[in-house]
Amino acid sequence: MSRRVVITGLGPVSALGIGIDETWQALLEGKSAVSRVDRFDPSGFPSQIAGQVPDFKVVKFVPKSDRKATKVMARDIELAVVGADSAARDAGLVTRSTDPDGYKSDDFKPTYASRRMGCHIGAGLIAADLEELTQAFVQAVKEDGSFDIHKWGADGMNNLTPLWLLKYLPNMLACHVTILHATQGPSNTITCAEASSELSIGESLRVIQRNAADACLSGGADSKLNPLGFLRQIMTGRTNTTDNDSPTTAVRPFATDAAGTAAAEGGAIVILEALETYQARGGEGAYAEIVGFGASQTVNREKGHIKADPTGSGVTNAVRAALAEAQITADQVDLILPFGTGSPDADASEVAGLKAIFGDRLSEIPLVNTKAYAGNAGAGGGAIDVCVAAKAVKEQTIPARINCDSPLEGVNARTSPATKADLNYVLTYSTSFGGQNAALILKKCD
């Protein structure tokens, strides 16, 4: 019999703000935070809008003793560090980072022993800071101004800080988080694009179920808010290039007038705990229990891997596996947080995949989409959805639905205000560009 696992802390970081309170408030008010890109001049790019996290200083989220480490943090790492801090505090966990003064004392008592805490964080392809690299490149050019690899190898590269590479290894998100919170149990970095953070939460779930850890920091973070990462998103053909003047209404998942998504930065860390250890530490009021997880891969040899699979079979398979583990039927799902980027082909694929499971009942289950609010945060996005799903279950409230005046046929996504509802089971899933899919079923705590 595997152990039961609950979500006890939420740390979303997105355009909607930092922490679950700011995020939830925006979702109740139905306020999209997608905006014109202000990190760099977007005028040369076909898409010029994004989900951008409000300004923060990462040093405020780490102990004083760790300030030096923030110098080797790419933006993606900062987002994970902030999310982890926010989640650990939300769960009331005593860790090295949440109680740095206590940590120094001899009788420091963390909530969990280091070896019983795991960490699973999804990450994207971290783009090297263009400005930092180019400052070094300009030291290695030929007379005609073109790049000279001989000069680079001989001396140019020395203009990069020795630790340069360590900012951009995807596992550095987990590396920094494990150091900050002193977690020495099983740790992993999943890199399956948009499916990464839900796959990571699924892996934490398994690690706790099989008793290899009692608690995990889990989720993902990603930033596409640098010129290269941003351009790569545009090159997938899924970003919005027609609504640059109206960013808050640009991302319209499951609407008949959907015209693409907005690239974003963001992510979330959540705290998972074994129910038995959570109760043993006196915990009460967990957000939700994770009762089902499923993973799958979409294969459509005719369409290849760049175009969406019109049948949505990968979504169907992941959701089916999650429902089976939860031992519930499709009829018992009360709310869905879909992937829904607002890219028409991808949205249609999801709807087909969901209809194969829910049939006509799909038109009755509310679909709440966070991309309309905060854009597509790549490897971090799924964890934001898990936060919202968990909070919705806890509050028994469906957040406001926005940017969908004319929903696709058979889909309950029409713009509507937040409302109270009986939510026993909530489904959330992600599907990556590349075809990996992950689905989670959250249940209201008894």
């Binding site: 001049d41 080797v72 280091s114 400005e131 180019t134 300009v138 190898g153 360590l166 494990t178 891969q297």
Partner: protein
Amino acid sequence: MTKRVVITGIGWVTPMGYDIESVWQGLLAGKSAIGPTTHFDASTFPTKFCGQVADEYTHNDFVTHKDLHEGVGANTSFALGAATQAWKSAGLDQFADLDPTRLGIYLGSGEGSLDFENYAASALAGWDEEARGIDAAKWAAKAQSCMSALCEIEQEPNMPLTHLAMEFNAQGPAYNCLTACAASTQAIGEATEILRRGQADVMISGGAHTMIHPLGVTGFNRLTALSTRNDEPQTASRPFSADRDGFVMGEGSGMLILETLEHAQKRGATILAEITGYGSSADAFRVTDMHPEGAGAYEAMKQALDQAGVTTADIDYISAHGTSTKENDSTETMAIASLFAEHAPTTPISSIKSMLGHLIAAAGSVEAIVCVLALRDQTIPPTINYGKKDPECHLDYVPNESRKLPVDICLSNSFGFGGQNDTLVIRKFQ
């Protein structure tokens, strides 16, 4: 009750070649696959040598669905070649009854190689000398004119996974993890866990990686992690020797077919070995350094032994992480010495990185295959280039010559930058 998990297929693409037997014979003979770097002009770099997969290699010699893999990056290409070998060696090309939703993939593959030439050209075109910064609009104009969308998309670390899924119609659980040099060992461990729980019948697992490109070598050269013994590349990788001066980069892929025992037996597959233990830990110590006492490495090995239900006395061979860096080899030795105690001096340890170089994310998968072959042939490969004894590395590293001995149970270690530690226990099936 968890299921037993066995290995039924193996395949690899390495700097020494890309079929199982010839590379294995090369490893037993103590050959080096290291030579001058030719993938790019490294003539002025601090390190000018590495272990490269031969230029003649192409996945098109292996795959069935060539049209699905046009424009793939090197990692995907290596992964396809290795996985196709593994698939055939498992007899799955002759087996029609596999349910696609019960066939999963768990890889530890690296990020793709940056399109460096166009990246550098765009960067320089976007540079505003007066502002000492990037003019994003100028950068965007150049980048959009020279960068290829397909090439950029294919750099995503999930792409080897995606292409394997298309090639083999694998629709079950699908993951790629990227925990630096520990990635593919971790992938095999987690794939094993998925099978143990019965959430798939068959998993393709392993890794693929190259960092032999200008920014990869730059990054490791700046960290001073690479050997700079440019005058003698073939003896530069010297794991555990006192005069080791850093690791030597390799590239390639190792792929294994893992299967539940019941599925393998039902279809009459040849069972090569069994995976009985997996351990994973984080150092949580420092971004740049391993834990000084190897606490994380100790913990990963301990977990793997415990799960396998064996003791250090039962281990016949340790396939070491053994990178040939000062820090790794002494720390790994310390962790082994501490965990194995009185059995440490009599347990043979070797590092094939002395011959192939370090395949980064793919290293662990190739080393897991080495364990399978060591069990099959009752022979363990040597650590070559072993010369001067290091007082901090005082164990039996199987110096320079392979060794025949009874091998029933192997332990394979992989440790990654960032403090990620993973260990597998692989044993003879009985």
